[in-house]
């Protein structure tokens, strides 16, 4: 029964650009766009003028030039002969390393503290409150320094691990049954922990390095070497995880049909770890323990441990400080998230006969997570951005390499800064896109 009547065609008047809702927003947008374009071209124009005035060019050729400086902590091979471009990647890897480990630690700390803050134990709850308040209300930069300093002040130096000639002499005398002078030392002042493999020092932790006797070889793409051994290990892990998922699915099916869930944890453990262990054994996995080179007499030589890999004090301090700082914020988020789930939910669950543990895992946590995750992710973002403060403790991250030494040595501040912002922006965008996808997938259905 619907029939459409033609509305008479009106003539277009110029005033309609402002007074007609159909055109008005378009008018505004076009004006805004033009202004924006003009402003942008103005900025670009200025930049070109300025570069010309300074006799500079805009190019990224410097990325292929020898960097000439050294970096303490590197995840990918790097020497001072490598290019600035490679230094950039070293920095980026360092940034991501701190961000990744920091986020994990911060989450653990945050969840723990958040839950403990709700604890019925008065003292524990109070201590956690003090922790949260102190960390939240003092600049993160100060925390980084605060934590770094003890790490570099307390603990032995590598030289305290050294066996010296006098020690050997003293031992020799002792072996011959001679008497030692009262102040004689026979053993080094410090020794390694964990079955004599890890040395904890002021300069960081010297860790044993995993090595393979029969590696599977490698191939390179450009500057980067990719090892087949690593790929193989990754493949095995992925396969194990997939098989484990199958196992769990099967267990669920069993539960759905019989009501009883079969125990799977030991099967899971086996599936998850056995293949990897086998592969590693097949490839001849062994550890290279950091140690001082020794002379024939057994005297330690050199300044530092050789072999193994090092976790520098700066990496440790930055990660721990960021984790503790961000953890304080996460604790608040977790606490708020749990408290946001009304008491009625757990009461209803209790009334149905569910035990507190099940109530937590089936009713409270799934709901709390929806509240917790979005602010949690933005804390991750903050932590990632705060890694740029690594410079305060000599940690060379992206800011320290590309935005620090490279910028300084080449004088290409425009190029370096723009590239650095772009990289940070990309990281942030990736994280927040992930967050949005998650958010959409867990949105509560409502009318």
């Amino acid at each position: 029964m619907a029939y459409a009547t033609e509305t008479p065609k009106e003539n277009f008047r110029l005033s309609m650009l402002i007074y007609d809702t159909r055109f008005r927003s378009m008018t505004i947008q076009i004006v805004v766009l033009i202004l924006f374009g003009l402003a942008l071209s103005w900025l670009v124009n200025n930049t070109i003028d300025n570069l010309a005035a300074k006799g500079k060019t805009f190019n990224y050729n410097f990325l292929w030039v020898r960097a000439g400086y050294d970096i303490e902590q590197t995840l990918i091979p790097y020497t001072n002969d490598s290019s600035h471009g490679r230094a950039l990647f070293v920095g980026l890897a360092n940034t991501l390393l701190v961000a990744f480990v920091g986020c994990i630690l911060a989450t653990i700390v945050g969840v723990l503290v958040g839950v403990l803050r709700l604890s019925k134990n008065w003292l524990v709850a109070r201590i956690m409150t003090v922790y949260v308040e102190i960390f939240r209300n003092i600049p993160v930069l100060l925390w980084i320094l605060f934590i770094y300093v003890p790490l570099t002040e307390i603990g032995p130096e590598p030289k305290d691990f050294k066996v010296t000639q006098p020690m050997i002499d003293a031992l020799a005398i002792e072996a011959q049954g001679g008497t030692l002078p009262p102040d004689a030392v026979t053993t080094p002042a410090a020794s390694k922990v964990l079955f004599d493999t890890v040395a904890i020092t002021k300069r960081g932790m010297f860790m044993p390095k995993p090595l393979l006797e029969r590696p599977l070889g490698s191939f390179s793409i450009g500057d980067f070497t990719i090892s087949f051994s690593v790929l193989a290990a990754l493949a095995v892990v992925a396969a194990s995880i997939w098989v484990n998922a199958q196992l769990r699915r099967k267990a669920r099916v069993v539960q759905e049909t019989t009501g009883v869930r079969p125990t799977t944890w030991w099967k899971s453990l086996l599936i998850l770890f056995a293949p990897l262990v086998l592969l590693l054994i097949a490839m001849g996995f062994h550890l290279e323990v950091p140690a001082f080179p020794v002379t024939e007499a057994g005297v330690s030589q050199g300044f530092n441990f050789q072999g193994g890999f090092t976790i520098s004090a700066s990496l440790l301090a930055l990660t721990v400080a960021l984790a503790l700082y961000t953890g304080a914020f996460i604790a608040e988020i977790v606490r708020a998230g749990i408290m946001a789930i009304s008491k009625g939910q757990s009461e209803a669950s209790f009334a149905l006969g569910l035990r507190p543990g099940r109530t937590m895992s089936l009713v409270v946590l799934p709901q709390a997570l929806r509240v917790i995750i979005p602010p949690l992710i933005s804390q991750y973002l903050n932590l990632t951005k705060n890694t740029s403060l690594g410079i305060a403790v000599s940690y060379l991250d992206l800011r320290g390499t590309l935005g620090g030494i490279t910028l300084n040595q080449t004088g290409r501040e425009l190029e370096c800064m723009l590239l650095m912002m772009l990289i940070y922006l990309t990281i942030s965008l990736i994280i927040s896109v992930g967050m949005n996808i998650y958010n959409q997938s867990v949105q509560l259905k409502a009318r």
Binding site: G55, D70, S394, N408
Partner: protein, 316 residues
């Protein structure tokens, strides 16, 4: 040019360090003192007639050259090493060398090291964003040695880490090492190794292209040197100027010639500079010399007449 800007502003803006003992740091009352600072003051006295009309803008290793290039500061007097690339690529001009430095190493005595060549495998504390990083890499490479770098943000941090034992040796300009050592509670337990692994000519920097301003900075500095050469001090300047027959001294005192006019200043600019801070030797002695806690010897920075490198072009 810069000169007009400075005159119009009535104030000289000097890029300085954020705080380097002996060379430039603010005191408890907020006044800046130090070796570099005195040169700024001399410049202010020469250009504006008043040594106090100078503002110090602290710059970091990263911001210093940009601050100069963008005109934020008129001149950078802040232990910056003169290198080819800085002189050319950064479009800056180094107009003089007011301190000849070189990179050295400090170690603890009980490490048993007596030469930098024995540092193979050592952990080295080093300030980021300076030429020292590059020198260090080159030195170890040339001697076929390896090292671990701990890149610290500033001098006090480097010193702290070195003392704490976070590194085996601390490397920076020898003057800085001396200054650090001087303030240590147990100075006798630390030695500065004999090797100086680089040339570090430090001097005032101006923007490329403003030659008149460059001349002013250079010749103000030279005036201080010449004053020392001629035995002129802050105290006896008037006296000597009155009695002298030396034409160069007369020109320095503004009694003869028209040197000032040629660089856009008046004739007494050199006199004012010297009267404001004293001659080069006085500045050195007052801030970093052997009578100060820092206790640097003149060494390379002695006048050429005394076997050093400080050599001013003739003031004519």
């Amino acid at each position: 040019g810069t000169l007009d800007d400075v005159k119009a502003r009535g104030e000289l803006i000097c890029g300085s360090n954020t705080g380097l003992t002996g060379f430039g740091a603010p005191g408890a009352d907020g006044t800046w003192t130090g070796f570099d600072v005195d040169l700024c003051k001399a410049l202010a006295a020469a250009v504006l007639g008043d040594a106090s009309k100078v503002k110090f803008v602290p710059t970091t290793g990263e911001t210093r050259f940009t601050a100069l290039a963008s005109g934020e500061v008129d001149v950078l007097i802040r232990n910056s090493t003169w290198t080819f690339s800085r002189d050319t690529e950064l479009a800056l001009d180094f107009v003089a060398v007011n301190y000849y430095d070189g990179q050295g190493f400090m170690v603890k005595k009980d490490l048993g090291v007596t030469s930098a060549k024995e540092l193979n495998g050592a952990t080295v504390c080093i300030q980021t964003g300076t030429t020292t990083e590059l020198n260090l890499a080159d030195f170890f490479k040339a001697n076929n040695m390896t090292y671990t770098a701990v890149n610290v943000a500033d001098d006090s941090e480097g010193q702290r880490q070195y003392l704490a034992g976070a590194c085996d040796t601390y490397t920076t300009d020898a003057s800085g090492l001396a200054a650090s050592r001087a303030t240590m509670a147990d100075a006798e337990n630390h030695i500065i190794l004999p090797e100086i692994i680089s040339k570090e000519p430090l001097g005032p920097v101006v923007r490329h292209g403003d030659n008149q301003w460059g001349d002013i900075v250079r010749w103000t500095y030279f005036a201080l040197l010449i004053a020392e050469e001629k035995g002129i001090t802050k105290a006896n300047f008037e006296e000597i100027a009155a009695s002298t027959t030396d034409p160069e001294v007369k020109r320095l005192a503004g009694l003869e010639g028209d040197m000032g006019a040629k660089i856009g200043l008046d004739n007494e600019f050199a006199k004012r500079a010297v009267l404001a801070v004293g001659n080069y030797g006085e500045v050195f002695d007052a801030n970093i010399g052997e009578s100060t806690p820092i206790g640097l010897a003149r060494g390379l920075n002695a006048l050429w007449t005394q076997g050093g490198l400080q050599y001013a072009a003739p003031f004519r």
